[in-house]
């Protein structure tokens, strides 16, 4: 569906923010795009949606370069950006103006998502608070049913109840034909939903693995005793006790802790990489 091949991109001459990026997004699954601040997560999203052009390599959606921004390509993707605004029009008018461009838009689903987010009916969308605007846009984005849905920090600005509403909406909006790519640094908010993890580190994709394979290769430890952390490639102390991760040599079944995984990649990239060769 979406293919990134040997892609490189820089804001400054010869100083690559992203270099030799290769990966593929296939239908069905929630992809978590993780990375430190300034690692290029948003830039990668913009490149994948054709909002910027790679300097080397290609990014194609169904075989067509994303940068061409053909209507046929654009009606199959939807990007929910981190910064957003809504026009001063009614919900009805917004749907009338924007839904015709998305052939698979489903009004019934849209109303259902508005209900999940408990959004009040307003005459003018500009009356919504920032959080409500985001929830409205998430509802619209999910109802477009585009095969590719990109979200840049979707839980930023959402209160605690809204985050669980968000997870519910994503679960309902997911299908086998659709992939949702979520760029975030708030891993705790989305941990339970992510099927595949893409980690951006040191200008390239350091890890591109399914959560199942990660659980297969790595053992995540939660303990109150420091002695239990033997063999860990990364560990830290939290108010609840110690957490750590080590190679899963004994085939132990453990829940993937994305924060610990991410920190282990930052601190020991080569060790983590070698586990997935």
């Amino acid at each position: 569906m979406l293919k990134v091949e040997e892609m490189a991109f820089s804001y400054r001459r010869n100083e690559y923010l992203l270099n030799k990026i290769n990966f593929e997004i296939t239908p069905g699954g929630v992809y978590g795009l993780l990375g430190k601040n300034g690692s290029g997560k948003s830039t990668l999203l913009y490149l994948m949606t054709g909002l910027m052009f790679p300097h080397i390599g290609t990014i194609t959606i169904d075989g067509i370069p994303a940068g061409k921004r053909l209507p046929q390509t654009m009606q199959n993707i939807y990007l929910l950006p981190e910064e957003y605004d809504l026009p001063a029009v009614s919900i009805e008018r917004y749907v009338k103006n924007n839904a015709p461009f998305y052939p698979m838009f489903n009004r019934e689903q849209f109303d259902n998502f508005l209900q999940i987010f408990e959004l009040p009916q307003v005459k003018d969308l500009s009356q919504y608070s920032m959080g409500q605007k985001k929830k409205f846009l998430v509802s619209f984005a999910l109802a477009t049913n585009t095969p590719l849905l990109f979200m840049d920090e979707p839980t930023n600005g959402l209160d605690i109840p809204s985050k669980s509403q968000f997870r519910k909406a994503i679960a309902l909006g997911m299908s086998d034909e659709r992939s949702i790519i979520i760029s975030t640094h708030q891993v705790r908010d989305l941990e339970s939903m992510i099927d595949r993890v893409l980690v951006l580190h040191d200008n390239s994709i350091m890890l591109n693995e399914s959560v199942m394979r990660i659980a297969d290769k790595m053992e995540f430890v939660r303990t109150t005793s420091k002695e239990d952390l033997q063999g860990c490639i990364y560990s830290t102390f939290t108010p609840q006790g110690f957490v750590g991760v080590r190679p899963n040599v004994d085939g132990v079944d453990s829940l993937v802790d994305l924060e610990v995984l991410f920190n282990s990649i930052i601190t020991n990239p080569d060790v983590v990489k070698s586990l997935f060769v």
Binding site: F9, R12, Y46, H55, P71, Q72, P81, N97
Partner: protein, 250 residues
């Protein structure tokens, strides 16, 4: 498969969205009607077309500059760029707005304003309103219509191009650019004119300049203006289609 450059159905849907999101034009319509009504009432119902259209001229270039709002913030840019219509259709909607919607709106405004002015005059003079034929009091010099429309279209195209080049303070920056270009052009024209006078004088046939000069220069100026309009629109279109969310150096 639907044409990816232009499809009437897609363009119509986009135009509807575009006009709906630029609803402030209705408010501008009411303001313009009010201003023209007052002007017509004060001037006794008779006014020069070109004085009246000066307002349309200013309105059009300000409106053309306001298109920069689509590119002024990242959120607006993303919204604009990701709407699933072709870049040509997006640009065409802007051009159509300037070249068709604004002039049509202007004619309608004048039509309404004329009758409102008659009613205002009747109200202030406490007499019966005397309705006339539409546009009866508007004086038009037909010889100046072509240059007027050419300058209207070229100025709108220039400010539209400016809106795509300068995403902030577009009106001021485009005005600055036009002054700079005007200065350069006048220098070139002055130098080439002087050269021609020298050549003609050298041929000792100064009368040739007067006979040949004015109509020849007007035709050339009109042709050059049309080429410039197309060039400005082309630059604007290219800029829209090559635009990136975060502009980068390649």
């Amino acid at each position: 498969m639907e044409n990816q450059i232009f499809s009437l159905g897609r363009f119509t849907a986009y135009l509807k969205k575009y006009l709906s999101e630029n609803r402030s034009i209705r408010l501008q319509f009411i303001i313009l009607t009010g201003v023209f009504s007052a002007l017509l009432a004060i001037s006794g119902g008779s006014m020069n077309f070109f004085n009246l259209t000066a307002a349309m001229f200013i309105f059009a270039i300000v409106l053309a500059s306001s298109f920069s709002a689509y590119f002024s913030t990242r959120a607006n840019k993303i919204k604009f760029m990701l709407t699933p219509v072709s870049q040509l259709e997006k640009f065409l909607a802007m051009v159509l707005h300037l070249y068709v919607v604004v002039p049509v709106m202007f004619v309608v405004v004048l039509f309404i304003a004329q009758y409102v002015a008659i009613l205002i005059t009747a109200l202030f003079t406490l007499s019966m309103p005397r309705f006339t034929m539409p546009f009866a009091g508007i004086e038009i010099n037909k010889d100046l219509l072509l240059p007027y429309f050419i300058s209207y279209f070229s100025a709108s195209a220039f400010y539209l191009m400016g809106a795509t080049l300068f995403t902030r303070h577009s009106f001021l920056k485009t005005t600055g650019l036009s002054i700079a270009l005007g200065f350069i052009t006048s220098m070139v024209v002055a130098i080439s004119g002087t050269m021609q006078i020298i050549n003609v004088a050298a041929m000792e046939n100064l009368a040739q300049l007067n006979d040949f000069g004015l109509s020849h220069y007007l035709t050339v100026a009109n042709v050059v203006s049309v080429i410039m309009i197309l060039l400005f629109l082309f630059i604007g279109y290219m800029r829209v289609s090559e635009m990136e969310t975060n502009e980068t150096r390649k």
